[in-house]
């Protein structure tokens, strides 16, 4: 039964399902039951069926799920089948790393261009993607209407740049700046807080008995 409201917990599991299904698909596996998938992912079969039922009925009694189909369904739910334009703001080391390594296409995005303030970078291109001056941002966005901006600028420029992007109508900001942006009225913000992530690891180590991880 399709649900109106989808909880955050479910949403955050969707990409994981997608990743596992994609891998099974690549390996040529054709079908899978919720209990087999659950064992592999370390979650219960109930949870998988409950999660999927938020979006529709994708399985078949006595059979399970067709992997190719389910993968496509979840891909559709995640929106990977309607490519959206994406720009990168800040071509420093991190922006560079994403330009070079990250597969935006697989996520349903089309990486159009990048922006930076450094004269040494402006006019060059990385991995086939042109780097433009931040001065061109307004014109570029007006012409190409990117849906998502990746924010990899220095901390101090974060809020100001985000405000600019919101004014230009981007729908989502993928925020790597470790700054809590206050612009969440008209835009979706997904934060990647490196520091928070590392600190949770620090906590677990600090809490573990000396000499190693505690047995679960």
């Amino acid at each position: 039964m399709k649900k109106q409201h989808i909880s955050d917990a479910v949403i955050r599991r969707l990409p994981r399902y997608y990743r596992y299904l994609d891998e099974l698909h690549t390996r040529g596996v054709v079908r899978i039951s919720s209990s087999t998938l659950g064992k592999r992912m370390g979650i219960t079969a109930s949870q998988i069926r409950q999660d999927l039922s938020c979006f529709g009925e994708f399985g078949q009694q006595g059979y399970g799920y067709n992997i190719m189909e389910l993968r496509a369904e979840i891909g559709h739910i995640l929106g990977v089948d309607e490519p959206r334009r994406l720009i990168i703001i800040g071509a420093g080391h991190l922006g560079h790393a994403l330009l070079q390594n990250f597969d935006f296409v697989q996520g349903g995005f089309r990486l159009d261009t990048a922006f930076d303030v450094s004269p040494a970078l402006i006019g060059t291109s990385i991995n086939g993607v042109a780097i433009r001056s931040m001065d061109e941002l307004e014109d570029y966005c007006a012409a190409h209407l990117p849906a998502v901006a990746v924010l990899t600028v220095p901390k101090l420029a974060a809020q100001e740049t985000a405000d600019r992007l919101v004014a230009l109508g981007v729908q989502g900001i993928w925020n790597f700046t470790n700054v809590e942006l206050s612009a969440e009225e008209r835009v979706f913000v997904e934060n990647v807080h490196f520091a928070d992530s590392l600190l949770t690891l620090s906590y677990r180590i600090a809490k573990a008995p000396a000499g190693g991880k505690e047995q679960p």
Copy 2:
């Protein structure tokens, strides 16, 4: 009342508390009540008090919390006050970005060295941190016993490298490879799955009514 088991939800909020308190401290604010902090962070005062009560009693009736003290307490809980050695495995673009930009000291870590397989990188240093050959990994770890390894190697090398690190006794792996590591017996793994993060953003945009974010 101190609790035995701390839920994951609480643990993941701790770094956020720490971040906010750190910022308030830097700005010279001396005290804060749970309700003021809650408003600022967008969570309830109840939740803050409930969370903190897992670890002890840090406030004072009628006053609130002393920011410097509470910051120090949470820092202690997170283990930032007992510096641990950290190494980076893979000095490609992402490793490079972390070497250059990330403040490991603030997280209670001491960035000792980095490893890579590229002859062009081995022997150089980035931001004062030497880059060594992966061949030296075993000797180095035996001598210096790093607590945490940052994994920024290509996908294909991820599992193998993780196994090596676990065998060498690291206590935590900060995993940037987007591979689900199966080594979680003797080590803590904290995953930074860029792809998952971007896909949740994709989902929200796909689901939002055309033209903008839905009102909350």
